[in-house]
């Protein structure tokens, strides 16, 4: 749920990166963190296991500049991708303004992508949202791997409604900011529509 503060002239929004385990959600945030000016970002927090798997969430506050005198701030979150952390994923979706679904392009992860997307749809409904209405983009990550599935195939499976989608190699930053900007833009457009 966005927070519009007329007193401090700020618009705060929440974007969640969703996707199967090891698809690169945390890598997206790490790249954004590394490539953002210090004055535009806060501390990145990762609540991870001892083996560096996301346990609860990653969090990165980001300022994107001013719009009509309002400072726009985005709180970026990732969910833990592993199937058994579903209760945590539900909590993180609370108050979400936009979702970036990070798919793992590897053929072997096709089922995991579909399962995660179904899980996203279900969990959004539980929170009173619909994937068909909320600002939403898809990222096909790991496009550089030799076992990456053809793009058309992924699109057919994971993006039947034709939302904005992007090819990415998050470890190298390819497609990372494009994905972020696309979902942030949709969130602001939605906010404007609701004003």
């Amino acid at each position: 749920m966005s927070f519009i503060n007329y007193s401090s002239r700020e618009i705060n929004c929440k974007i969640v990166y969703y996707g199967p385990g090891l698809c690169g959600k945390t890598t997206n945030l790490q790249y954004i963190y590394q490539r953002t000016n210090p004055e535009a970002k806060g501390k990145m927090i990762s609540l991870a296991t001892e083996t560096e798997r996301t346990l609860f969430f990653d969090f990165l506050p980001l300022s994107l500049g001013e719009i009509r005198g309002f400072r726009t701030r985005f709180h970026l979150y990732t969910v833990p991708g592993q199937v058994f952390y579903d209760a945590s994923r539900k909590l993180i979706l609370k108050g979400v303004d936009g979702v970036g679904f990070v798919a793992d392009s590897q053929i072997e992860r096709t089922e995991a992508n579909i399962e995660s997307l179904d899980n996203l749809r279900t969990n959004l409904v539980e929170q009173g949202y619909s994937l068909d209405k909320i600002p939403y983009v898809v990222q096909y990550n790991k496009r550089d791997l030799p076992n990456a599935a053809p793009l058309d195939e992924l699109r057919q499976l994971l993006n039947p409604t034709n939302v904005p989608d992007f090819e990415a190699v998050a470890t190298k930053g390819v497609g990372v900011f494009e994905t972020l900007k696309a979902v942030a833009r949709l969130v602001l457009t939605e906010l404007k529509r609701g004003a």
Partner: protein, 153 residues
Amino acid sequence: MVMYEPEFREIQAVCERLQREANAKAVLLMDRNGQAISESGETQQVDVVSMCSLTAGNVAATSAIAELLAEPEFTSQYHEGASVHVYMALHERLILVVLFDKRSSLGLVKLRVKRANDEISRIFERLRAKVADPEPTALSDITDDDIDALFKD
């Protein structure tokens, strides 16, 4: 959520008084999504944005545990540190966080928080009525060009 200047000032005044009367180091008010609403006291050394996000995560997890145990809610949490202690009170959609040290006590903090919560409730009740019948806002004037300008490289 929408916050307007007059209500913000009132909330800020309540939090400042709570901080004073509870002898607290700092008081933070946030919503359950982790958006900071108000801060008062010694917050210079505190990463408020991170604090709010982690508190919201903590409260969300604790609320889910309450649900598992068929409890409606755990309405407060207390974390005791070596020198700084944290008291979190849940109230409707809000979380009030008080950081305190040896200058205060849990009993005093709890007592003052109760009064502050009642006052904050009344302010938010008015705010909700105002938001339900909004005046045209600056946001309705935002154009697609404004949004494009934000994302220009």
